[in-house]
């Protein structure tokens, strides 16, 4: 676990770079394979937003918890969760982490501290706050990270949750990935023009900052500083990361032909592609290492996807298990 940016070793930052690549490659592979209609569940890809999640594995312990919403792949992979079980689950196979009950919209990896993602906008936010309350009164120094989009900040439960975290001084980090859109609706249809989301949370008395979500150096630093702040002060923090999604809201393809986003906007953000950005500043040696990693990881992905397709489906009777927890 990394504790300070200055002391962050080269090796560690390289790992973070790899993690970014890992998310991108996995998402691209999903996007490519989706057309074959074997992953029969809606997917909300994170392509374009990976820099926010990439540092997670290296900044957090397994006991630090992440929860998220519908666009959760990056957070799951970024946290260092089980990729095999994830892909198997996307294929809805017996060997998936929930034996095909969950799919892309409900990610879980308890062992690695991923405590769920929910496709109902904003509805995992209070779960994370409750987890923070558990940590607090059981005197655990772990942190809970709650990921959601700009659209989620329009749901009442968002405000209720921030308020509770503030009243009880919980070690919870609220992370808003503001990609300017909710499905096809731009912010202007949903929030007043002059609104700053992080200023709203600030007015609720949660320490709040805004940061560039597409530059891995900024995201790493921001997250690390926030983690240190939260642990030191036992207080929640809200981070608004500005970012942009590169594929359609839901599904594997681009959707720029629909013209809901201005060309100029898309251009501007394409330049800020977190992957390109990363390559723009890393040194030649790292580039070589990354390209080796890319090849290796792609091989691994290919194997996982091939295996996933061959694996068997759960029997239909599995649908009728685990409604209630009757262990006791």
């Amino acid at each position: 676990m990394v504790h300070s940016i200055d002391k962050m070793k080269k090796k560690q930052s390289l790992e973070i770079f790899k993690n970014l690549l890992k998310i991108r490659l996995t998402e691209e592979k999903i996007s490519k394979e989706y057309a074959k209609q074997k992953m029969r569940c809606p997917v909300h890809l994170s392509i374009g937003q990976e820099a926010i999640a990439a540092p997670l594995k290296f900044l957090l312990s397994k006991k630090d918890i992440v929860v998220s919403g519908h666009r959760a792949h990056a957070h799951y992979i970024g946290k260092g969760c089980d990729i095999e079980k994830f892909i198997f689950e996307l294929y809805l196979k017996e060997k998936g982490f929930a034996r095909g009950k969950a799919g892309s919209m409900h990610l879980f990896d308890k062992k690695n501290g991923f405590y769920g993602s929910s496709p109902i906008v904003a509805n995992a936010i209070p779960l994370g706050v409750g987890m923070g309350y558990f940590n607090k009164i059981n005197k655990l120094n772990n942190v809970v990270l709650i990921f959601f989009g700009d659209g989620a900040t329009e749901e009442g439960v968002f405000y209720e949750s921030l308020n509770f975290a503030a009243v009880h001084s919980l070690k919870v980090i609220f992370i808003c990935e503001n990609n300017l859109y909710s499905v096809y609706s731009g912010l202007k249809f949903r929030q007043p023009k002059s609104r700053k989301i992080y200023k709203v949370s600030k007015s609720l008395r949660v320490s709040s900052i805004r940061a560039d979500g597409n530059d891995i150096r900024h995201t790493t630093k921001t997250l690390l500083n926030t983690l240190n702040f939260v642990k030191r002060n036992s207080k929640p923090v809200f981070i608004e990361f500005s970012t942009f999604r590169f594929v359609e809201h839901c599904g594997p393809n681009e959707d720029d032909h629909l013209n809901y986003r201005k060309e100029s906007e898309i251009k501007k953000w394409t330049k800020k592609d977190p992957l390109k950005k990363m390559y723009s500043f890393i040194n030649a040696r790292d580039k070589i290492l990354l390209s080796k990693f890319k090849k290796k990881f792609n091989d691994r992905l290919n194997k996982i996807f091939l295996k996933a397709q061959k694996l068997s489906y759960p029997k239909s009777s599995v649908a009728y298990t685990n409604l209630y927890d009757e262990k006791n």
């Binding site: 989706y34 057309a35 209609q37 992953m39 029969r40 569940c41 809606p42 997917v43 809805l92 196979k93 998936g96 034996r99 095909g100 009950k101 969950a102 799919g103 892309s104 919209m105 409900h106 929910s118 496709p119 109902i120 906008v121 904003a122 659209g151 989620a152 329009e154 749901e155 009442g156 439960v157 909710s182 499905v183 096809y184 609706s185 249809f189 949903r190 929030q191 839901c250 599904g251 959707d255 629909l258 013209n259 809901y260 489906y313 759960p314 029997k315 239909s316 599995v318 649908a319 009728y320 409604l323």
Partner: protein, 350 residues
């Protein structure tokens, strides 16, 4: 012959008709004016009626419902849409505590002419939070009306009569119906409570929404096996027109009750219970309820396969009620091999 139209076009036409008829009608919900226009049901409406009357909204289901109620209390009319019924659970306070009660509590001073379209998901991995039907939950609440179309024609007429009803109406719109074809036979008056889809003497099938499509498929097969069914399509689940159901079951003595929702404490249970409370001898055989299991919807296709009942289940139930073997043509069985998409060229993701 009349021109065929699709279900989603019927919805669109009903909305257009209503927006034309009442200048104070507004229509809103996530996506009503976005490029996908709620599965094409709201296509061109913003263009035609302006963004004051047809508009996209923030993610705020509870407030938006209250806003619709307030708008209605002023004398306006409202259609609100949720792309999934599951999202409307955020607004049950407004629906149950306000919409369902304000006319009553104000002793008739304020009506709430609000129609809420709830789209019910299914298949292609919609899973536990994007496929709930929960019709029994809504239909339990006095003060709400709850309706559900099953084809383009009744969708058109039912949506218009819901919009021009002065009460809050929950309009249950099954995603799998959007692509169905049919002809329009305009006949808009009050909300029609039910319609007979088939007349027969051996068996009564009571159904609604997508299950009526399955009942009709089953009926084709049963006919070929010399079995004739009364099929009653419930357009309204609250209130329910019990008289017509009683009449049919008094004739056949045999009932298959189809339900798109979980069976425990359901519309189906209500119908069965009502019938036997009316006449203890009404059933010549134990009635059979075919509903979703009392489980959340799993996501994967191997798990939903047995989760959603179809015409085969209806036929099996008929065999049991009539103590008779029924032959299902292979062609029909082939149809259900790919069971998790509404039509063959559907490629997901929603």
């Amino acid at each position: 012959m009349m021109k065929k139209i699709k279900f989603h076009q019927a919805i669109n036409k009903a909305l257009e008709f209503s927006l034309n008829k009442d200048k104070k009608l507004i229509l809103y919900g996530l996506g009503v004016s976005d490029p996908k226009e709620i599965f094409d049901t709201t296509i061109k409406l913003q263009e035609k009626f302006g963004s004051d009357r047809v508009f996209d909204v923030p993610n705020s289901e509870n407030a938006l419902t209250g806003i619709g109620i307030g708008y209605g209390m002023m004398g306006g009319r409202v259609v609100m849409t949720h792309q999934r019924l599951d999202f409307s659970l955020l607004s049950l306070d407004q629906i149950i505590n306000n919409a369902a009660k304000l006319f009553y509590t104000s002793d008739g001073k304020f009506s709430v002419p609000l129609t809420i379209r709830l789209i019910i998901g299914r298949g292609w991995g919609q899973g536990p939070n994007h496929s709930q039907a929960l019709q029994s939950l809504y239909a339990h609440i006095p003060g709400l009306k709850v309706v559900s179309p099953s084809d383009p024609n009744n969708a058109y007429n039912l949506l218009i009569s819901s919009i021009f009803d002065n009460n809050p109406v929950i309009f249950l719109e099954h995603r799998w119906l959007h692509n169905q074809e049919g002809t329009l036979n305009k006949n808009i008056k009050k909300i029609k409570l039910l319609e007979k889809v088939s007349d027969g003497k051996d068996l009564t099938i009571v159904s609604n929404s997508i299950m009526t499509v399955e009942a009709i498929k089953a009926n084709e097969i049963l006919k070929k096996n010399n079995i004739s069914c009364d099929i009653i399509n419930l357009l309204s689940l609250n209130p329910i027109d019990f008289k017509r159901i009683i009449k049919s079951v008094e004739k056949t003595g045999k009932l298959i009750m189809l339900d798109i929702d979980h069976g425990h404490i359901s519309v189906s249970s209500e119908v069965i219970s009502y019938l036997v409370s009316y006449n203890k001898n009404i059933f010549k055989k134990e009635p059979i309820k075919i509903s979703l299991p009392n489980f959340p919807t799993p996501t994967g296709p191997s798990l939903t396969k047995s989760f959603y009942p179809n015409f085969v289940n209806i036929i099996k139930a008929s065999e049991k009620l009539l103590s008779k073997k029924v032959v299902i043509p292979k062609r029909n069985l082939d149809e259900i091999k790919i069971h998790d998409i509404p039509y063959t060229n559907y490629t997901g993701p929603f």
